[in-house]
């Protein structure tokens, strides 16, 4: 059965004509087919189209790096920040990118531990995105300080000044959380890659590539002993990563909750931030996978079922985020604190109301179409909504930061913040870095975990029922 036929059949089953349990890999490929299909992406010639795309994203990254250089030479004054508003797009971008990373960790760790087999086709690229997103987040957090050349003062190390970091500061916790996150994610991703790198080592033809993949695969032979250790190691790393899904964004949210400002000082932030992070992360995975799947023709492995499942998560986390928005408003009223009440009224009706309502429409309203299965399986629709969610989640962070800071306690100190070209360029630059890294990843690393996907091929599992055979 061809992929097209199979999709038609599934479509028919959706309409209730023929009940069929949907497979995770379509076309019933053989083990060899899988290897050939995925490894051929690496082995194929670099096309002009690829180079052109990379040039565009690389150009964006270069422009952003120039904006950062400009910031370093001129000072934070190159940005639009001012005295009431000490953080703007810088921390908005930081929280946004950290959030993006969360889908990868959730997919690779939690879904793994819960034996969600559908994660297999998407975990590799989602994890890669995690790492690239954290790189972008680190770029933001390192460049946002007034004296970035002293960034290492944020690390606790013995020094001649006999100064430690201030362990009471959420920013110090942030440093630990983000560094741990980056280290563990990178390690987890790399460990997962080892068998596939070995496959590539065997597959590629050029000597250089053979050497590179050979070194990176750390002498993997695929022996049972290797597999045994590998599985244990992978499981342990999944275990270590799991709490990170919850802890990293909770710690990031402490940056705000530990502050005393109405609009920041709230206990709902940690769960709300985690839900939001998964929400935005899935949306970003969605955006990139839709493109990757089309361009690399991976429809066989990344099926509508995957998207369906992811859309369900987007719907669920979107509702959590919506609940958090409603609860914030309720608590502001219920607290009896006029400071709180005023800040939330200002959020919805003040100078930044446009940002607030953009956020609500994108994050709460737009995912509601996913109640319908047809919507969950419509590629154009989900592409648009995934972009909406990305925009909405960026505005969520912007709203939290800017509306809180621009009007706080004393009306005499109020101000307004809008970004300069430098901040806009830096955001574009982080997207450039992110996309460039993803493009390189898609070309030189197996975008789908070859070894893992083989385990969910039809018939590969003894307990696998209702495998559609062609």
């Amino acid at each position: 059965m061809t992929v097209v036929q199979e999709q038609e059949r599934l479509q028919a089953s959706l309409l209730g004509e023929e009940p069929v349990r949907e497979g995770l890999v379509l076309g019933n490929p053989s083990v060899r087919d899988v290897t050939a299909r995925i490894a051929s992406i690496v082995e194929s010639k670099i096309t002009l189209k690829y180079l052109a795309t990379l040039a565009v994203t690389g150009g964006m990254a270069a422009w952003g790096l120039f904006a950062l250089y400009y910031t370093f030479t001129v000072g934070i004054g190159a940005w639009g920040l001012n005295n009431p508003v000490g953080w703007g797009w810088d921390i908005t971008n930081f929280v946004f990118w950290i959030g993006i990373g969360h889908a990868g960790t959730l997919i690779s760790a939690i879904l793994f531990l819960f034996h969600q087999k559908w994660r297999t086709a998407i975990n590799r690229s989602a994890e890669a995105m995690t790492i690239f997103a954290v790189i972008c987040a680190l770029t933001m957090v390192l460049s946002h300080t007034g004296r970035p050349w002293l960034f290492y003062w944020l690390l606790p190390y013995p020094n001649q000044m006999q100064m430690w970091v201030n362990f009471r500061s959420p920013l110090a916790w942030d440093v630990f959380a983000v560094n741990t996150y980056f280290t563990v994610s990178a390690l987890f991703w790399f460990v997962g890659l080892i068998p596939d790198l070995a496959t590539l080592r065997n597959y590629v033809k050029s000597d250089i590539a053979k050497k590179v993949y050979g070194v990176l695969s750390l002498g993997w032979t695929g022996s049972t002993r290797h597999w045994h250790h590998y599985e244990i190691g992978y499981m342990i790393l999944a275990g270590i990563s799991t709490p990170l899904v919850l802890s990293v964004h909770s710690v990031v949210s402490f940056d705000f909750t530990v502050g005393i400002l109405p609009g920041w000082h709230t206990t709902i932030f940690p769960p709300y931030f985690v839900a939001g992070a998964i929400f935005s992360g899935f949306a970003m995975v969605m955006t990139l996978l839709i493109i990757t799947r089309e361009v690399l023709d991976l429809k066989q492995f990344i099926t509508l079922k995957h998207f369906d499942n992811m859309n369900k998560i987007i719907l669920a986390t979107g509702m959590m985020v919506g609940y958090a928005y409603a609860m914030e408003m309720f608590i502001a009223w219920y607290s009896g604190s006029d400071w709180e009440r005023w800040v939330f009224i200002n959020r919805a009706m003040g100078d930044y109301a446009w940002a607030y309502w953009t956020m609500v429409v994108c994050n709460v309203v737009s995912p509601q179409v996913y109640w319908f299965k047809k919507a969950r399986r419509s590629i154009p629709l989900m592409f648009v909504i995934s972009i909406f969610v990305n925009i909405g989640m960026w505005f969520e962070r912007f709203t939290i930061i800017s509306t809180t800071l621009h009007h706080d306690f004393l009306p005499a100190s109020w101000g307004y913040y809008s970004p300069t070209w430098v901040e806009i360029s830096i955001l574009i630059g982080t997207f450039g870095i992110f996309l460039s890294l993803f493009l390189l990843f898609a070309k030189f690393v197996p975008v789908i975990a070859i070894a893992e996907i083989k385990s969910i091929l039809p018939g590969s599992q003894p307990k696998h029922h209702h495998t559609p055979h062609s």
Binding site: I76, P84, R147, F409
Partner: protein
Amino acid sequence: MSDRSLHASKNTTWKSIDELAQGPMETGEFATGTTSAPVFDSTVSRRGFMALVSASMALTAAACRRPEQKLVPSVKSLENATPGLPVYYTSVYAHRNAAYGAVVKTREGRPIKVKGNELHNVNCGTASSEMQASLLSLYDPDRIRRPRLDTGQTSFDAAAAKIADAMLEAQGAGKKVAIVIDEHCSPTFTQLLTEFTAAVPNAMVVMMPSIVCDNASIANLSILGVDAEIVPNLGKASVILSVDSDFLGTDKLALYHSGRFAARRSPSSANAAMSNLIVAESQYSLTGMNADHRERLHPSQLESFIAVVERELVGGGAIGGDLARGASTETTKAAVNAAVKLKAAQSGEAVVLTGRHLSPRAHAIAYSINNALGCIGAGKTIDSACTLPNSQAKGAGIAQLQREMESGNVHLALFCDVNPEHTSDRAFRAAMAKVPVRASVNLYEDETAMVSQVSIPAAHWLESWGTAVSINGTISVQQPMIAPLCDGVPSLQDTLITIGKKVNAAFLGETATYADYVKSWVNASVLPTVPGVSWTKALQDGVIASAPATASAAGLNLGGGASLVSHTVGTGMMLLTAPSLTMYDGKLANNGWLQELPDPVTKITWDNVALISPGTAVALGLASSKDAKSIAKANEKVVTITTALGAIDLPVIVQPGMADNVIATQLGYGHTAMGKVAEGVGVNTYMLTSAGHTTSYVAVTSVTEKAGERHRIATTQQHHTLSDGHGDRPVAKMMTLGDVAAKNYAVVSENFNKEGMDGKFLKPLSANAEYIYKGHRWGMVIDMSACTGCSSCIIACQSENNIPVVGKEQVLVGREMHWIRLDRYFTGDMDSPGAIVEPMLCQHCENAPCENVCPVAATTHSPEGLNEMTYNRCVGTRYCLNNCPYKVRRFNFLNYTKENEQQPLDLVQNPEVTVRFRGVMEKCTFCVQRLHEAKWHARDNGHARVADGDAVTACQEACPASAIIFGDMNDPKSRVSVAKQSERGFRVLSDINVRPSVTYLAKVVNAPASHVEAGAGHHS
């Protein structure tokens, strides 16, 4: 060490035959011989080896060092100065013709701070913003450095010779020489000019201040025979009616008035008394902001208002009967109310003040009222012995000069420290152009210097000798603190002496310099009249108490007032060109501190604007309705204002509290020459006043909006704080005198958190035990009832703490750096609001929210309760700024000090305070450098603690209203501890448990016990 010998002597045990046979092992597994380092002689020990190696390492390291240089101490040491310790000198600052005693702090010979002289009984140790900011002008890189003749540089001698030749030419041609000077209060300068005119008979000296204030003097001349302005002592007044008089703001003696006024503004339940200030005015002045009762009147009603008051109080003898008949019903009602309040005061305790721009007639009427109120007389509120020096009417002299110039009678005009090209009207400038030789002696190459063939630099007041007499006759010697920064720049007076001697060799005889002249005058004319005061003592004290030059009052002739002119002010749109609250007349317009000082009423920096009322904004079509949002849209629109004298374009700002049909604008802006700071800032509004005529209301013929044009105005407080409904935030609290008397302090304890939390944290919410402050614990009290909003504290802080000027663009973004700001809140409705001024600075919270969030511990708490900022440690995350509920932290977004600084501007920096680099946070330190200095002094004198009053912050020191009290809260007897016990005391945002060290005392309005809007900004 020699292993061989060791073995030889100790070889008593052996392990093998070989060993025994060979003695010490030469070969084998453990060859002992190799233990000696093979490179060195065997006598080199391990220790010696190490020593050699380390020595050679040191040698290598030494070879890498930079060439050694020696610091060479100055051969000529500074007189009476220890490097590193400040030296204070007394001097006197002349704000035009008002003298204020000054003490100047110098470090290594350079002045770094101007403060008030406590012995001077006009300013009593306090200082105005202009007086303090004049320090910056000393180091202004835009000052003239060399004399100029036509277009080329020249020597002093050549420039003076050119002027002297012109004088001789004039003598030959029978023409006149005009010496145009500013108003001043120097008796020696007066005498010098007298001698000059004696030596150069064709010289005419004309005093031409940029803002002429003749009307009071004209009135006093006609009714008292005294051609001078009488200065009231408001410390003796319990009811003050101010008719368009801005005695707390733009008045030349505002510093004097502020202190005396504020002394009667802080009631307590034990002493529930305060003065009552009634203000009737057209604009919204700083005085109006301090009013207990305020009437906004159209300018056409001002003189009628005062006439009705007179009718009510004087009755039959009133001299303003005809004016009273012109009063509208509302004006009459308001005037009758004011009269009732004046009458209610004890005899001699009520006083009426009149704006300088009101007619001589109005001043005479005020005198008549004051006479009826019994406040005139020796030792009373109005004492004719207390007059402003050189305040005689000057209009006639200026008009005569203009006529002489027009008729071609003037061959040379020498403009001394005046800028008529900027400050006069078209006709006067045209007359100036007819003078063949024009010369200017000034600090700056200003507009007048640009139209002069000769331009000579003048020394700054801190560089030159002089004298000044104060309103009550105190004489002070102005002594130079520093040699002129540009070699050989003489003072204005020295230049005149040089010129005079060239014209007439006999001029001044042996006296060569103004310094000698001053010294001999003081020795000959002043010291003999004051027993026991030597020249040295006079310089040390800075004051010589001399008997005031009693004006010979010719007896009261109130009838003379009836015939004086009154201004006919139309009922249409009127324009008021008032002095700027920050720049006064613009003489120091090239001063960044003053340009960036927010106007206390409008909060505008770096611009002058057209202020109009909300009603006028609607009437002019700039706003569609009087709704706050619509009104806000009128701001920054540009309008063309046309009067009979010309037209100017000005941006509009809607100022609540203004009278309708009035446009108020500020003088001192719009310089086209002077320096980089002043040029292009604002619009010159002098051209709409006429030279020599007292500024008054001018009829506006048309106001048209320049469609589509907007001019961005940099304010330090956003306009829209008016339009947003931000609720009744009890952050700046206000109560009535009635409440104080009734001990009803409910408003003081009011908090914003009404439900859920009680807003009172009786116990600290902390897991740790509370910190016990054992030594000092610094704290502050700010009495908002005393504070007038004059803004002296801002400049005092800027000067003390090296706070950079950031420029208009940065203020527009919201990055001004002032460590202390004056938050201004309006209360009541938009048409006639009340106002509260709340000085806001770092509150040094005990439970500081900034401290725990800093990731690098750059801001920490000191054992003395200070919230300290370690600049070196700061990496600039700005988290502390975000988390500061008072938003008093200031971030160096750019390298402000470095980027804006050029020689010799860097000399103004206070060496006790770090100059901050970009990327670090800064904020008020409670002048920690002064606290340390006070502690060192206490220790040197053998005291365990700093005595109360020995540690003074810069803002406290300058405050003319004594509204700031600083000290040790651990000393129960200290002034600050006592003030903290006040029932009016509250801490801003006490409900968020940050526990600030600054206590505010609620502002009190002299009104009966009633509900006053608590907190600020309750607007329609």
